[in-house]
């Protein structure tokens, strides 16, 4: 019975429903470091591919002593195709981070895409929480994002206008920028605004009026 269950589990894990075109082999090069630029060796990298309906774990590898890893994999069939890569150190030193919404257009340069991934240690970041307060009834918040030395679980490669950020992991003792987009109903225009946020050693909460 156990063998049967194990077989069923393996079959489920190994099943593959995304369609591929092996005639095109993409190359994803990763260089993984900590925030100081030191190579992160032996980081487990999992590459996932998805189409409109399903997703597959397409490749698994580990960074070498210099923090480098090259993965070669077949292209998902034309149409909706997204790739994501998750970096997770075997030990608990670093936090897991996923770079997602990587698309065919990112591989236009010689079928190759390179990621310089920075992993943050568990005690290196604090959390900035943002509360948005509407100051004008004709204003509508359309999206926001942070720039600066950011931590966190995910990096989005899509060009879509992002939803408002309500929580962001950032490195301690720095000034980060909150970019937010406000649609003005009077003028019909969307304007980008930038606010500086001073980060210390502790989590903080800010209020952003728009």
């Amino acid at each position: 019975m156990k063998k049967l269950l194990l077989f069923a589990l393996l079959t489920t894990l190994l099943s593959c429903d995304v369609s591929y075109e092996p005639e095109t082999r993409y190359v994803l090069k990763s260089h993984v470091t900590d925030i100081d630029g030191n190579p992160a060796a032996n980081v487990r990298c999992e590459l996932t591919a998805e189409d409109e309906d399903d997703s597959d774990l397409l490749s698994v590898g580990y960074t070498d002593a210099n923090g480098n890893l090259k993965m070669v994999f077949p292209q998902v069939e034309e149409g909706y195709a997204r790739y994501s890569i998750t970096y997770a150190r075997v030990s608990d030193v670093f936090q897991t981070r996923t770079y997602f919404n990587i698309m065919d257009e990112h591989f236009e340069n010689d079928y190759t895409f390179s990621i310089n991934a920075t992993l943050d240690r568990i005690d290196e970041t604090v959390i900035v929480q943002v509360l948005y307060e509407q100051s004008d009834a004709n204003h509508e918040l359309q999206g926001s994002y942070f720039t600066g030395m950011l931590g966190g679980e995910g990096v989005d490669y899509s060009d879509d206008l992002v939803d408002p950020v309500y929580s962001q992991k950032v490195y301690k003792n720095q000034t980060v920028q909150l970019h937010y987009f406000v649609f003005d109903g009077n003028t019909g225009q969307t304007t980008e605004h930038i606010s500086d946020v001073v980060v210390g050693n502790d989590n903080l909460q800010i209020i952003q009026n728009y």
């Binding site: 190994l14 591929y20 092996p22 082999r25 190359v27 774990l57 490749s59 070669v72 010689d110 079928y111």
Partner: protein, 207 residues
């Protein structure tokens, strides 16, 4: 396994070299040098030994393959061959292929011309030149993951021994150069598009 097959190949060629006298004697016998429609059919097993910096050598472990060919016609000492071969490979390095893919198969349809040195009714050696079209199938179990077209050029030697009136056994060694259709980074293009192998095998021929 590879060492054993290298040894088999070496033995084949040394045997061929040492049997030149026999061949010469056989050649003295009258050989029918006319157009013949009597076909020859071969069934054989082979093992592909891949070499060079290419995916079959670095990312796969080869399994024994099989093939058959038919020679429908002979003109003097030349024979036309039409054949099929299939070999399978177990994925050894998933990072170079794809995690879900556990095996691949390579199937070829080819045409070749061989030249008989010696007598087909006793012993003969046949240098062969050919070309074909192929398909590389990537698989998850028995399910196809995807496929890539390819083309092959081949050159080889076959030694036939007649054991009965209409049955011969043979040893064969072929060099096969394959070009596989792939679009990838320039630095990896040859790795995925080229394949060089020596196939050593043995089989039966019905004539």
């Amino acid at each position: 396994m590879k060492k054993f097959l290298y040894c088999c190949t070496a033995c084949l060629f040394s045997f061929i070299a040492s049997s030149q006298d026999t061949t010469a004697v056989a050649a003295e016998k009258p050989v029918e040098k006319t157009v013949s429609a009597v076909p020859q059919i071969r069934f054989y097993g082979f093992y592909p030994i891949h070499f060079g910096d290419q995916q079959f050598a670095d990312a796969y472990n080869a399994n024994p393959g099989f093939g058959f060919n038919i020679s429908p016609i002979r003109y003097k000492d030349l024979r036309l061959l039409l054949g099929f071969e299939r070999s399978t490979y177990k994925v050894d390095n998933h990072t170079l292929i794809a995690q879900p893919v556990d095996q691949s198969s390579y199937q070829s349809l080819f045409a070749a011309v061989s030249y008989s040195i010696g007598s087909e009714t006793s012993f003969c050696i046949k240098p062969t030149l050919g070309a074909g079209v192929s398909m590389l199938y990537l698989k998850i179990g028995n399910e196809r993951f995807g496929n890539q077209p390819a083309s092959d050029l081949r050159a080889g030697l076959t030694a036939d021994w007649a054991v009965y009136k209409h049955l011969s056994v043979f040893l064969t060694a072929n060099y096969v150069h394959s070009n596989i259709d792939v679009d990838t980074a320039q630095e990896l293009h040859d790795f995925y598009s080229k394949a060089n192998s020596v196939q050593v095998g043995f089989g039966l021929m019905i004539r």
